[in-house]
């Protein structure tokens, strides 16, 4: 019961903190003080208290987009185990629902973007659609590896399975897996080198340009949903990359939170030291990630 409560509290409260830490890390690299750690929370509350501007081109789909996207993301959050604890809901094949819920979220984000009739937003949606197609197989190669290792079809078992031993017995496979997953973690969450979450109007933008016309509470939903997606996929990644478990409940939660903070700092560092890729390079890197995870799968299956 306590675990369930902690799970829900972390899912609801922690995602914006990740953004705060990333921002702070980037500021440190740039020699600035940077916004406070809690700035994303302030932003969200501010947006919820703002009025909205709706384009006269839009229909109900534009308004439904952020709502369904956030609802799907929160539902996916109930399927991911955090730390050493199983998720609130787990069953055979939940990883497929997990993957497809993000598909649902993406579908409605793109529909809302196209609803504005803006060429910018169409461009962003086209890119999002293209890149997500390339990300999808990578995720499934990774799921196959995890299924095969743990012999289970449920995210909770396959991610909380003692992966430390596997690191010793099949380390090569897991290294490839972690590399592939880190690439799609950055790509799916619109991080440098794929996308820059801080600018809106450059022609190379993907996610930010899709939400150009949203304002007020709807934009708050979008920001919060994006933070939660980073948190969920980050937790997925952490399970494989840093599978340290002690068996002690509170200690495991502590380890999990520290790992997530470390992940946020790592993302901040990557964002600080890398330039954004040219658009034509992005598919190449995503395909490379697919192939890395495919190799990982071959090593496990042989």
């Amino acid at each position: 019961m306590t675990d369930l409560l902690i799970h829900l509290v972390l899912i609801i409260c922690m995602p914006p903190l990740m953004l705060g830490i990333i921002g702070k890390t980037k500021a440190a690299f740039a020699g600035r003080v940077g916004a406070p750690y809690l700035q994303p929370y302030f932003d969200l509350f501010k947006l919820l208290r703002k009025g909205s501007v709706f384009s006269s081109t839009t229909t109900w789909i534009f308004r439904a987009g952020p709502i369904i996207t956030l609802a799907a993301t929160i539902t996916a959050a109930l399927l991911i185990p955090l730390g050493n604890h199983p998720s609130p809901i787990s069953f055979a094949g939940d990883m497929i629902l997990f993957a497809y819920l993000f598909g649902l979220a993406r579908f409605f984000t793109m529909a809302a973007a196209l609803d504005t009739g803006s060429s910018f937003e169409g461009m962003g949606a086209a890119r999002e659609a293209t890149f997500s197609c390339l990300v999808e197989p990578t995720l499934f190669f990774a799921l196959i590896v995890l299924c095969r290792i743990s012999g289970s079809l449920s995210l909770s078992t396959m991610l909380t399975h003692s992966l430390v031993n596997i690191w010793f017995s099949a380390g090569a496979s897991l290294v490839l897996l972690v590399a592939g997953l880190f690439i799609i973690l950055l790509a799916e969450n619109c991080r440098i080198p794929f996308d820059d979450p801080n600018t809106h109007l450059e022609l190379t933008m993907i996610h930010e340009v899709m939400v150009l016309d949203h304002s007020g509470p709807a934009f708050g939903y979008i920001l919060y949903g994006a933070a939660m997606k980073l948190f969920i996929l980050g937790a997925f990644f952490i399970h494989i990359a840093l599978p340290f478990k002690t068996g002690d409940h509170l200690l495991d939660w502590g380890i999990f939170i520290i790992s997530m903070v470390a992940l946020a700092i790592t993302i901040g560092i990557v964002e600080s030291i890398m330039a954004r890729l040219r658009l034509v390079r992005i598919p190449q890197l995503l395909v490379a990630a697919s192939i890395l995870t495919a190799f990982s799968m071959l090593l496990i299956l042989r």
């Binding site: 703002k50 009025g51 909205s52 501007v53 709706f54 384009s55 006269s56 081109t57 839009t58 229909t59 789909i61 308004r63 709502i67 369904i68 956030l70 609802a71 799907a72 539902t75 069953f91 055979a92 094949g93 497929i96 629902l97 497809y100 819920l101 598909g103 649902l104 579908f107 529909a111 196209l114 609803d115 504005t116 009739g117 803006s118 910018f120 937003e121 169409g122 461009m123 949606a125 086209a126 890119r127 659609a129 293209t130 997500s132 197609c133 999808e136 197989p137 995720l139 499934f140 190669f141 196959i144 012999g151 079809l153 150009l212 016309d213 007020g216 509470p217 697919s290 799968m297 299956l301």
Partner: protein
Amino acid sequence: MAAQVMLTPVTLIILGIFLAACSGVPGLFLQRGTGQGQKIATFSLLAGALSASIGAIQVIRTNLTEIYTSGWRLPFGAGELGVDPLSALFLLVIFLVATCAAVYALGYWPAAKNPCTERRLSLFFGLLTASLALLVLARDAITFLMAWEVMAISCYFAMTVESQRTEVRDAGTLYMVATHTATLALFAMFALLQAQTGSFSFPTAHSLNSQTSVAAAIFITACIGFGLKGGLMPLHIWLPSAHASAPSHVSALMSGVLIKTGIYGMIRLLTFFQLPPLWWGIFLLIAGCISAVMGVAFALGQHDLKRLLAYHSIENVGIITIGLGVALIGQATGNIPVTILGIAGSLLHVVNHALFKSLLFLGAGSVIHATGTREIDSLGGLARSMPYTAFYFLLGAAAICGLPPLNGFVSEYLIYLGLFGGITGGTGADIFFLALAAPALALVGGLAVACFIKVYGATFLGHPKTKSPLAAAEGAWQMLAPMGVLTVFCIGIGLVPQLLADFLLAPIAVFAPGQVIGSRGFLTLAPLAWISVLAAVLIALTVLLTGLFLLRCRNMPSHQSVTWDCGYLQTTSRIQYTASSFAEMLVKLLSGVLRPRYQQPQLKAIFSGPASFASHLPEALLDLVIAPFFRSIDERFSLLRRVQHGQLHLYIFYVFATLVALLVWSI
């Protein structure tokens, strides 16, 4: 006593087929253009569908398996008809889609506006429905082939009603060639089958040895014959143009049901054999993956709304075949859960695809009816003028992409479970194929989302790009109601899939007998109830967030304005991202197989004049491989043309000469 005899499920089904077959006949004797004939046809079909559906449901509920042999003799043995839950499942799909399409036709193809073609369409539509139903009841080769041919020919006449247009005639000819090639393959298949069993009636289930070379030949000929009908790549060449040229409700029936006869035939054939060899499953798995991935890839580059949907049929037949392949691999490796999940996913996807694809074709028909164009790039902004159609189409699009909480997800989920189950438990060579099929299916899901967002965005969202969508208005209730019914089924299966378990188990048992697990066992294998729970969570969260959103919006000022245009003053609707530009990146990434063609302007002067750009995605296989191949054959064998001169009396002489030669040879 008499009443009991009358109301057996089988008599209900036969009555339904009879009513469907004769539905168009009264119209032939009534005055043209009054619409009475069309109304009678629709009511007759509705009554037939009701009767047959009740019968089919009873067959499934009571797990009835019966075979009836006709008293009169056909040239190659007695005609045999039979029912079992597998046939009943297909019957339900056939009659549901046919009813929806027939009601839709009242608004879409009204007799008052199409006095010349309506009678022909109603007649052949009814015949097509009846022959489809008869096909799944046939239990011997001759009845099967007769139903198969009636189906093929009535479909030809139904799809070519607009035969004044060249493209329709060409599509019809291509369809005719393809369907007769399929029939040829089936002749070979049934001849081989007869060689093994000694009779033309279908062998008893699971009686044939599958390890012989004859069995392999039967399997391959079946793959060609049924694959051609089902539209499996690379045998799909007839499908896009045929679906695009037919009236939309006929396209719905073709895509929803007709191509599934290929799947039905395959499943029925597989039930004849004992334990299939592993390579059959792997073969089907690979064929399914190729169809699914390439189907959706070709769909991405299409500009024609109905052609695009037709390519998605190829994709979905691929997904169904993947499920079938998984089931066969499960049988060959003795993995019962994998068999059951694979066939369950495959059968459920047959049902689901029939639902959402006919919904989408009817939606596309409404768009064409309202705007007069199939070009996606000339549409736009229809969500305002056609809100109901837009809503139905959105749900259909989300369902075909396999997104939860709609029906497409449930069947893909079952297939994934089969794939992953085989991978975790397996040891042999098959796991590599299963392990590659899962990411392929995921890729298909991603590409389908891209493709349907493209269609939906370009058709229903944004501004109208030309004048044609400006005057668009919502269709009549006859057009909206069938779409509503199909949507309800799509949502229902997505929300409470566990109720289907009982319904699917009987047909599954036909395919995999002796592996009966009961609905509780099935729900342990595939915990569908959890999908309901999460769908409920998703809906509850959506309602909650909507409430919060509306609350905030009510308290805060809300303005209407234009879409942010970056300060550019003279925006036009042509500035929007079109469907072609949306798909351009993906099409370029896949250009190695898709072979897109571009007509680019040649810029010569510094200030060049007006220029135009066009992109086109041809049917690569037909244009680059098959057509050149047959053209070269045509050139080489032109001498043989002399024998084929069109003089009937000499043709009869050929038959006589052949008979004499055969007689001499037999002596």
